[in-house]
């Protein structure tokens, strides 16, 4: 994205920040939900797009962030809580990153899923046996508008980071890794470090989203915080939107979030069937996103 494009997008975000002055009810709630997934899916694609590693660990980092707030939210000042959430997310992602370097393809996918479940089980066990209470009440004094603004700020920061990354050597390295990892190693790229660095960056944002969202629900338990459907929703949104460009995931987030909303609202009793059919239609009729784009590019190329 060029500087001008970034400036326009950031200005757009700033304009959207005015929403809470117009409506603090349903539209704000919908905007929060979209903003949440916009950050998560963009952060997801920032790592998974160039490296083509499909991660299902989103829920793990989201949950870590949310739990940090549940534990520390009433003890420490808010910025410190966010900082701690980010740091924990970073440390965990570095550990996971270096542990999973040898995994590829579907092995990485299922590993990340297992990781999220393992963390959830360990947190559960810890709560049951050490703190001896399950489920935490998050009574942090924060308004919905503040949650929304924080999410917008996160999204802006993420876009700025993405723009910088695209021009940086690290971003280029990841692009090369995505094209051909063997070549990447043989042009002197430390592929392991590059991938882990990006994984950590992306994970920090996920943890921060979890932290920001936690006060919205009053109550948190591991099943809510580490809900695997977060991972799947983010994955699907990003894949549908396309992971090849910074704003690609947004193309999946906005329509899907609205679609889910419209379908639940209009057809509460047939939501599942309809959402499934729409999904299949999209996959077949509009092969957009990463797969379609790639397919068209490749088909145009000589064999």
């Amino acid at each position: 994205m060029s500087n001008t494009a970034l400036a326009i997008v950031l200005a757009g975000l700033a304009a959207m920040a005015a929403l809470p002055f117009l409506d603090t009810g349903f539209w704000l709630a919908l905007a929060i939900s979209i903003a949440q997934y916009a950050v998560l899916a963009t952060a997801w694609a920032m790592f998974s797009g160039p490296t083509r590693y499909v991660s299902l660990a989103t829920a793990a980092f989201f949950g870590i962030g949310a739990y940090t707030v549940a534990v520390l939210g009433e003890v420490l000042p808010w910025p410190v809580v966010l900082l701690v959430a980010g740091v924990i997310g970073a440390v965990l992602s570095l550990l996971v990153g270096f542990a999973t370097l040898r995994l590829s393809g579907v092995y990485f996918v299922v590993f990340t899923f297992g990781l999220a479940e393992l963390i959830r089980q360990l947190v559960t066990w810890f709560e049951v046996n050490v703190t001896r209470s399950m489920g935490r009440y998050v009574f942090v004094e924060i308004t919905q508008a503040q949650i929304y603004w924080q999410l917008l700020a996160l999204f802006g920061a993420l876009l700025a980071l993405g723009t910088w990354l695209a021009r940086s050597r690290l971003g280029f390295a990841l692009h090369v890794i995505g094209e051909d990892e063997t070549v990447a190693r043989h042009v002197g790229i430390d592929t392991a470090r590059a991938k882990v660095a990006l994984f950590a960056l992306s994970s920090v944002f996920m943890a921060l989203v979890g932290a920001v969202m936690a006060p919205r629900w009053t109550y948190l338990d591991p099943a809510i915080a580490f809900n695997p459907s977060i991972s799947f929703t983010v994955l699907i949104m990003a894949l549908l939107g396309g992971t090849r460009s910074l704003l690609g995931p947004l193309l999946g987030v906005v329509p899907l979030a609205l679609l889910f909303e419209v379908l639940t609202a209009r057809f509460p009793n047939h939501f599942s069937i309809l959402v499934g059919i729409v999904f299949l239609l999209v996959v077949y009729a509009v092969p957009q996103g990463v797969s379609g784009l790639l397919a068209r590019l490749r088909r145009g190329a000589p064999a």
Partner: protein, 250 residues
């Protein structure tokens, strides 16, 4: 010339007792040889004799089970590929590997950005343009690599390897599959590299190219070193002929 070089300088690359097995198959078995600065050494042998594995061991794509790789007096055995690349070993691949989603210029910048003498930004782009001209792809900087012909992909791969300012260039059948015109151009290109003092270790089946370019040849069979010497002598060697005759593809 080769004898003179050998006696006067320390070897740039020394390989000692290199061994690598895949399951029960020993692909490289106790391989030893040296390459001196400024030399072009041909690594020959019938298909499946372990040449590519040897290159993979030297370039860090694989780690050896035993033996040593010494680069300019430093033991670099088992270092990962990116470290070896930064120490000055560059390579091309048997099955040509360009980065199809990037432009020609970006393909070469990939070689410049992380190598021994890294360059980035405008400087990298202009150096990449120069290298593209050098391999005969001048002026096509912004074309996507995916549309290149096979021969041009080989050129691009070489430009990327040269971008790393290599002290030792490993060419894995770089001339294979080129048509006659391309082949002649390719041989000239490598010759010009030699004239600039670049050291090359090349796996090659095109014997005309070996005769024209190599100072010295190392011949492998079934993973083992079976002969070594100037191309003319080696290609007349009884053991070498036997090894090749035993193989239909020779």
């Amino acid at each position: 010339m080769s004898a003179a070089l050998q006696s006067q300088t320390a070897p740039l690359l020394r390989v000692e007792g290199l061994r690598r097995a895949f399951g029960g198959l020993v692909a490289v078995d106790g391989l030893s040889f040296t390459v001196h600065p400024g030399e072009i050494v041909g690594l020959l042998g019938p298909n499946g004799s372990g040449k590519t594995t040897a290159l993979n061991l030297i370039s860090g794509a694989l780690a050896p089970d035993a033996g040593r790789v010494v680069l300019d007096g430093r033991d670099v055995t088992g270092l990962p590929a990116h470290r070896l690349t930064r120490l000055g070993i560059a390579r091309t691949f048997q099955l040509v590997r360009v980065l199809p989603g990037l432009s020609l210029n970006e393909n070469v910048v990939a070689g410049l950005a992380f190598g021994r003498e890294p360059a980035w930004g405008a400087e990298a782009r202009s150096r990449a343009a120069t290298l593209l001209t050098r391999v005969g792809l001048g002026g096509r900087d912004n074309q996507p690599a995916s549309i290149l012909t096979y021969g041009d992909q080989k050129r691009l791969e070489l430009a990327r390897a040269l971008a790393l300012s290599p002290r030792l260039l490993l060419l894995d059948e770089w001339l294979a599959g080129l048509n006659l015109t391309e082949l002649r151009g390719g041989i000239d290109l490598i010759a010009s590299l030699r004239d600039e003092g670049c050291t090359v270790l090349m796996v090659e089946h095109v014997m005309d190219a070996i005769r024209a370019l190599a100072n010295r040849c190392v011949v492998m069979n079934a993973g083992q070193h079976i002969a070594e010497g100037p191309p003319a002598e080696v290609l007349a060697d009884h053991a070498v002929i036997q090894a090749y005759l035993g193989d239909d593809d020779a």
